[in-house]
């Protein structure tokens, strides 16, 4: 690979002149500039970012750390895509790392994070209370957390308006006349699920419908767990007419069980999800769900992180991204299902 020296030699100028041309200083004679440019082109010269980074003490590298399922989670890959594209636009690069599960040895990631002098971090899916949190905060690297509520200097966070999303979903069901609305929530300490629960509660309050604890189930985040949750639900209370799940995946699991039990959606039971993953509109029936704009979240995350990097004084306030209820065909007006259930 050619170096500055080679370019300088070919152009018949000094090394620093070439550097000035490269860095667009305006103190170079146009003629000289052209000579240099020609040499650069001829040699197919590309500045060595390691040398540049070494002297400027900047790597231009941003770490994208995915905890848990990460990229496998249908919602996260929207975020990842949004992030990557934005990071690239801002002339930086994203280094991807995954921390599959809690027990996983995350130390190598932190080592690399320091060795490569990552300028900033974007963190997805970090479970509340995970040991990594302290290490990240401790690193003093500007970080943007997606879907986690963290505050601190040079720390940003972004999440959907989960409260409003869940409120909208529940309100929609109440409006359709449902009063026995179950909520299948992901059992995680993460604030976002707590927020969704509060939205569910708030809608009940608005309509003066009392919350029935038997209708609240906490579970995992896989489809089968939605399936099992629905089963347990019907064991607890056979009169449920609507189920709100805290993710589309869980909602699909719920529908699996409903189908197995011979119940029709939405005639017998209405179902609402959360996320609006690609599949939601292809489900049978198409799923009514709360849309999270993952791409936008990824973009904003990258944008705010880069803003922090470019202004050492800046710490963004927590960012809330609008959610939107997508009404499709898995929800309908309440209808008695008692007859069918008791004869089943």
């Amino acid at each position: 690979m050619p170096t500055l020296r080679d370019v300088a030699r070919l152009a018949g100028v000094s090394i620093s002149t070439v550097s000035h041309v490269l860095n667009k200083y305006d103190d170079i004679n146009e003629e000289t500039r052209q000579k240099v440019l020609a040499a650069i082109k001829k040699l197919d010269y590309h500045a060595n970012s390691m040398a540049r980074g070494l002297i400027k003490n900047k790597s231009s590298l941003i770490g994208l750390i995915l905890f848990g399922e990460g990229i496998g989670h249908p919602f996260f890959h929207q975020v990842v895509r949004g992030t990557i594209d934005e990071v690239e636009k801002r002339d930086r690069n994203a280094i991807l790392s995954t921390v599959p599960h809690d027990g996983y040895e995350a130390a190598p990631i932190f080592r690399k994070m320091h060795e490569h002098r990552l300028e900033g971090l974007i963190v997805l899916g970090l479970p509340e209370g995970h040991a990594a949190m302290a290490r990240i905060l401790n690193s003093k690297i500007p970080t943007l957390f997606v879907d986690a509520v963290v505050e601190g200097e040079r720390i940003g966070s972004i999440r959907s308006d989960n409260f409003r999303g869940a409120f909208l979903a529940t309100d929609h069901l109440l409006q359709l006349g449902h009063t026995r609305i179950a909520f299948v929530n992901e059992a995680s300490e993460a604030a976002i699920f707590e927020e969704r629960f509060r939205g569910y509660l708030a809608a009940h309050e608005k309509w003066g419908v009392e919350f029935n604890p038997a209708l609240y189930i906490k579970t995992g985040n896989y489809r089968v767990e939605g399936y099992r949750a629905a089963r347990e639900l019907f064991e607890r209370d056979r009169q449920v007419t609507a189920i709100f799940a805290s993710s589309d995946r869980l909602a699909f699991g719920v529908m699996d069980e409903l189908r197995r039990a011979g119940l029709q959606v939405p005639q017998d039971v209405s179902v609402v999800g959360f996320d609006d993953i690609e599949l939601a509109c292809f489900a049978n029936p198409p799923l009514t769900t709360v849309r999270q704009n993952g791409n936008l979240m990824g973009e904003r995350a990258a944008k705010e992180l880069v803003a922090m990097l470019e202004d050492p004084e800046y710490t963004p306030a927590p960012i809330l991204i609008d959610t939107e209820l997508m009404v499709r065909e898995s929800t309908g007006p309440v209808r008695g299902i008692n007859a069918r259930l008791s004869s089943a």
Copy 2:
């Protein structure tokens, strides 16, 4: 951030002694070594990989370039995950880049690839004949192509055994008594789709069933296109009893249309997909499909690429990953559907 110098000063030794400790040379007195290690720990020292890379002329960075849908494609994120994990194990880092579509200005990516002195490239979803191919080959950077057949020095490629997968799928249908088996194939110049077509043909030949060109449809890679393809198929020939789609997504689209037309799967029409994405087993009915082991492909890709980086003489032969037919409930024995169709 502390430097080698700081460590050396604190430990009361020279800079090169510290370097030797770091690089695990065995010519250091144990006592000295401990002093140095203590200083490193105390200062929380982390070697600067830019300085190291500069001198060693190695960035330890691998570019993961996603063309088209990339990460959004349900099959690719398995591959991405496999790649990332393996790359990390081998003490390198993956830089992610996306080239959303053909018209997209890919130049910045190539610039960065050179500036960061990427040691190797893993390329996913590069369409046949894309302009980027020449630039990649031209860069002389060792590259591993996933799902593309490319040969060249320091170039590797990996793909599923598409021929066998398609053969197995078609053979399965023929064995069930189907003879009018449509094939909905992604219309791409990519060799992998050609291979699947050949597998389809080969199974026909094995059973002495003649290929009917009217039953072969080329289309896009989105679900709606599977939907439309199925529609066109029935306009061409109402006696189709089985449909093989070149991706699960297309298969889902096909099933959408079947459902709309009031046809039962598999009683009226059998459907087989390709990929075995997470969703396949949750479809209704669960989809019979050809499994591609994306994770394994990602891992192998990373492994082979790193092998190339570590041995400058090595160029791997094209790699074929086994495919497997997952028989689920979307396929069943033939049954006449003529009656239903003509009365429809």
